[in-house]
Amino acid sequence: MQNQERSVLICDPTLRDGNHAVRHQLTAEQIAIYAAAANVAGIPIVEVGHGNGLGASSLQVGLAKTDDKSALEAARKVLTTSKLGVHVIPGFATIKKDLRLALDVGVDVFRIASHCTEADITERHISYIREHGREVYGVLMMSHMASEDILVEEASKMQAYGAEALIIMDSAGAYIPSDVTSRIEALVDALGIPVGFHGHNNLGMAIANSISAVNAGATIIDGTARGFGAGAGNTQLEALIAVFDKLGIKTGIDLYKVLDAGDIAEKYLVETLPTISSVSIVSGLSGVFSGYVKPVNRIAAEYNIDPRDIFFELGRRKVVAGQEDMIIEVATELSKRGRNERS
């Protein structure tokens, strides 16, 4: 296998997952600048939107500075060779309000996501996009919370609904490489569609996990410029492309130009470069969605609680993505408990 020519399709959610890192404040101008750079670098798919995808601008997760339509249009104008992608979570986004709008703006690739055990909520959304002749992937988020068997079962549902590829996300950055290998191998064996991996770097494993995914048969890998993304950030795209070049894995992306895109991202998008902060490590260890780092830090400060305690409690309660309101409830509970212990 090592000697065969291998190639991987890169999807770049810098302008979507990165929105988590700036509290969903990316402007249409910033989106246009980075999308243009990604287009020049030959990145196949550029994903754009609120951190939780289409229709997710909310008090719950964070209000977006730029509405979906303006964000997508800004990218659409400059993406001449790269495809425009969106992330869609049913429960946030609906067909009437959000998918129709994205179809009208000219989105090329729809990645319809659910928590890793809830694939059946994506049936109508996946079929709707298929009926409209656009590309549609299934995405299983927080995939560390399910075994190989369950992932295969849920992924097979998405395939049956019409998904043309299946991505598993390590939304909490909780995996080590052997976790990725076993899951991707099981999915590649069971499915008749390409399998992909979306990493987060909470435990410093994002690149290593992505390599394991490719070695196990994955052919779609997500990465973002400078790792710009939720929590400790995503798999850093520039480093990923360099490593793939070294391994002889073809991506069709120009190394110098993707490095340039990284510099442009750092200059125009990034507020603080992603680091593996203490709290992000705990998010990864406790298996809690990386996007919770910002609200957990904020609420921990307001309630005078250790953010690490909040993460471990959220992990104990097995919260999934989209349950940000639980952070306040947990903080209230921990602060009561703390008072009782002191008194």
């Binding site: 909310s58 008090l59 719950q60 049913p90 429960g91 946030f92 609906t94 067909i95 009437k96 928590h115 055990t117 809830e118 059946d120 909520i121 049936e123 109508r124 919370m145 609200p295 904020r298 609420i299 307001e302 309660r317 097995k318 919260v319 999934v320 993505a321 989209g322 349950q323 309101d325 639980m326 306040i328 409830e329 209230t332």
Partner: protein, 292 residues
Amino acid sequence: MKNAIKPLKVAILGSGNIGTDLLVKTMRSPYLTCTLFIGRNMASAGMRKANELGVKISDQGIKAIQDDPACCDVVFDATSALAHIQHWPILASLGKHVIDMTPSKIGEMCVPSINLEDESSAKNVNMITCGGQASVPIVYAIAAVQKDLEYVEVVSHIASRSAGPATRINLDEYIETTEAAVKKFSGAKHVKAILTLNPAVPCVDMQTTVLVQVASPKLAEISESISKIVSKVQEYVPGYQLLVGPVLENGRIVVTVKVCGLGDYLPKYAGNLDIINCAAIAAAEHYAKSRA
């Protein structure tokens, strides 16, 4: 029975989780008696349960009511939105009072802690959604204090096991119907409803959070208004409790409620199914009393 009211005759159409749980609740009510429990398959779990309880059952669907219109005064329709759209003209022509458990949006939306009075005149009463029954009382209590709400958001989390195939396939309808109710009862210009399924085992209780952004929040007044309505909801949903707030966090007013089910036919974690059924029973009992 201290109120000497002759119980109202009720037919339950739909033998799934909602219908069967409604049956158990109906049997406990002094104002209601279930005279016919209707499904499509005699072997289903709901039909067997009804049979065990000694209730008359039929597998003939809506035809069972057409064949014997005198069997009931009230019909709970616990089938699906699509089926209800077909059932309604038939039930209307038979003069039945209908309580619609589906998100069909045909009838008047009813939240018992708010508009039971209007409900007695409507012939088709819509029970909205579980998230609507949990969130709308809170939204309404906030709107009573903070006039001219611009934007209201309601977020619910339910246990995966409590979301059957109909809920899952109708997620968009859930959102649209819940948003319509929040808009109607808050007067807000913009609203948003979000639903998340959580597969944790042991199963999580239903939790609903209301989020509101206002220029000058009157927390003390809101708190009083909410505590009043929570007591009112508790009169018909014993497992409804205020968990958080109102608190002001990051410029948002945050209120979280939790709903534990009664554990009638469905497990206690299925507070989402319990609250809509408790609300439907309250609506039916009110109708029974108003006729007496």
